[in-house]
Each structure stands twice: as structure tokens, then as C-alpha cells.
């Protein structure tokens, strides 16, 4: 198990580099997909809920440390995001959950929860329109992330990696 965590965190580093250098180039408006969450959802489905929750915690911690965002905000959102995705980690249904559309839906759900919590802890102005903020900060990035997740899962291995 420890080795497994080691490899998933090792794989996280190049994904984080891509997320902070290449992904901003494919942003639409200010909507940016979250590659880290796609990786987290993949691990949550293949390795289980506890694994996803703990991994989300570490992914969030590293993300907060290197990007300068409020330390703890991504920690908490990715932890819950991994936990939510972990509900779809049944041993004998992994192949079903990793199918194109199903994976996209799980990523969407998980990203939605992740973005809502992240936005909440980033403390934006409460006088702003909550529904609009929810739509712009959570729904749109979650939708874009889900679309990208559906593309990535076509090329991802359907069994556990590393």
C-alpha cells in the first residue's frame, strides 16, 4: 500500500507541472480544467475510497504549497473530492466506472464538490450573486474537467496502474 501511495504521488508531480504550465493555455475564458482531479478520481475508483481520500489530502497539500493559494483550501476540497469519487470504487465494477461516459459523470460530480468547497474557502465576496458564482466557479470548471476526463480515460489503462 505504501509503495502504491509513493507511485501515485510520483505520478502527481508531472501532472502538477502540466497543470501549472500547459493547462492555462487551453483555458476557455477563465475556465480551467483540473488534471489533478482527474488523476485523483482515477485512483479513487481503482484503489478505493480511503485511498482516494488520503491521496486527495496529499495532492491538495502539495498543490497549495507550490501554487501559493490559501494553504488548506485545496487540501480540504481534494480530500472531499477523493472521498466522493471513492463511492464508485466497487471491486467488480471498476471496468464499468472507467467507461467513457461513466467516468466523465464521476469526474463531473467530484469536480463539482471540489470546486464548491475550494471556492467557499477562498472566501469570495458574499455580496456577489451566489448562483452566478456557483455556475462560474464550480459548474463550468467541473464540466470542462469532465470533458477532458472523458478524453483522457480513452487512453488510460482500464486496470490499476503502478
Amino acid at each position: 500500500m505504501k509503495t502504491s501511495y509513493f507511485f501515485s504521488i510520483l505520478l502527481f508531480i508531472p501532472v502538477l507541472i502540466i497543470q501549472t504550465t500547459v493547462v492555462p493555455l487551453i483555458s476557455i475564458g477563465q475556465v480551467i480544467p483540473d488534471l489533478i482531479l482527474i488523476l485523483l478520481v482515477y485512483y479513487s475508483i481503482t484503489e478505493g475510497q480511503i485511498y482516494g481520500t488520503v491521496l486527495g489530502f496529499f495532492y491538495g497539500l502539495i498543490f497549495d504549497l507550490v501554487t501559493g493559494s490559501l494553504l488548506g483550501s485545496a487540501m480540504i476540497s481534494k480530500t472531499v473530492g477523493g472521498f466522493v469519487a471513492g463511492y464508485f470504487s466497487s471491486e467488480n465494477k471498476i471496468d464499468i466506472y472507467l467507461m467513457f461516459f461513466n467516468f466523465g459523470m464521476i469526474v463531473f460530480l467530484s469536480a463539482l464538490v471540489d470546486q464548491i468547497i475550494y471556492s467557499f474557502f477562498s472566501a469570495f465576496d458574499i455580496s456577489s450573486n451566489i448562483l452566478m458564482i456557483f455556475f462560474q466557479n464550480a459548474f463550468l470548471p467541473a464540466f470542462y474537467t469532465a470533458l477532458l476526463g472523458m478524453i483522457i480515460i480513452i487512453f488510460a489503462p482500464k486496470k490499476r496502474i503502478l
Binding site: G68, S69, S73, V80, G86, S119, S128, Q136
Partner: protein
Amino acid sequence: MLRFLNSFWYNFKEYIILTVLVIISLFVISQNHSPAVQKVRAIAFGSFATVTSVVSDIVNVKSLRKENEQLRETNAKLMLQLSKLREAALLNDELKEMLALKDTSGFPLVSASVVSKSFSRVQGTITLNVGSSDSVKVGMPVITDKGLVGIIYSVSGNYSIARTLQNVDLKITVKDERTRENGLMKWNGERLVIVNVPKTYQIKKGDRIVTSELSSLVPFPIPVGIAAGSINVETGIFNEIQVIPFVDFSKVENVFVLKTVASKEIDELELNFLKKFQ
């Protein structure tokens, strides 16, 4: 009892782990400003930026040619402006001498490249490839040829993180260049706004917004954006003025750090003034 705990753990271990990790995260959020956390963060992003700077250079190679052309054009325009400004500077110097005013211009610039970006809608930050070894300090403004990008927030040896204007934690005093009226500008998660602007203020759509001399972060005028009209006009005695920034934060690649921080002398004077009335 032990059996109960065992059974409780077995049945609810996912929730227990989630709760523990959430509590730890909340604790970390409360410790954000502690010096130890800042130190760990400086080491972490310094190491990470070393890697991302290499990747960023590769990614940006394609855009360099286009940028080079734009820079040549900007250079030509600036050359024309410079000759005009030289004339104005000579006149200005003469007038300053006559009025015995202090010279506040001439801050040195440090050129820097953006090695990574974090553009969440509420916490925009960029990592720059200059740090304390280049005399960059927390609080220094980051600019481009178009205007203000943000403020340095954390510094390591060779890298630094700047909060962009699209960060809810960054608030800057700005003024309308035409009317000279001041206000506090911030990112509200959706847009850049000047908040609590009295309805009697004459800020109009299309007015240039620059940083105010009253700002403790940027104590001289740097272009910020264009006023795009007022919002929340129905209620209260205050308006909010929306500002469209000059800088496109998603495309910014090369910036300059202005080597100045707010004057300690002014800070001390203001503090003494406050102490007097406490």
C-alpha cells in the same frame, strides 16, 4: 469497549479518516500566516519552480517569435513617446526645481518570466523566476508594458509568487485618472470592482483607473484598467464600479518587478499618528 471501538472503526473508517483529514486541513487553514508555514511554502514552491521554469521555457518557445514582433512594434511606439517625454521631463525638472519638489520616479525594474500559473477564479497567482537573490521582496508590484499585474506575496531564493489582481486577497487603492477620486479595488470572485464608491463620485465608463498615491502597496500611479460602468446602483448610498484590467492575466508571460516597497518612513509616521489617538 474494545470490541465496540473495533466494530465502530470497521463500519465507519472511511468517515473517520475523512473527518480527521478535514480537521487537519481546517487547522492548516488557520495557520496560514505563521512564519513556519511561510518558510515551508517558500522552500516548496522554490523547488517546484526550478522544474516548471524548464517546462515553461519549452512551452513558450513558440510564442517568442510573435512576442518579439510585438515588442519591436512597442519599442518603436515607445521611442516616439520617449522623445516627447524627454521634452516634458526637461520642463518638469525645471518646474520641480522651482517648486522644490522631491523626485519620486526612477524605480529600477527586474525583468522576470512566469514559470507557472494558478488561475482558480478566486485565487490567481503566478510564479516568477526571480527571488530574493535578485533583491525581490514581498510587497513589490509586478507590471507589464500594459499595466499592473499583481503584488509579490512570497519569496524564495530564486523564485517568487505574486498574487494577481484576480485574487480575492489582494486589495489595492486606485483612483480615477480624470476625476482623481480614490477607491478600494478588489476581485470579488467574478469581476474586478472598486467598492463603496459614493454615488456622488463622477467616475464614468471609459475612465482610466490607475493605482493611487494613497496605496500602501503601490505608492505611485500605474495603469490598472478602464472603468466599465457602475453596478449595484439600486440600493444604498454606494456604488460599485467595474474595472476591465489592461492586462490579460491568462496570457501574461514576461513581466517586470518594480523594486520598491511601501515607505517605512511613511508607515512609521502613520503608525505614530494612530498611536497618538489610542
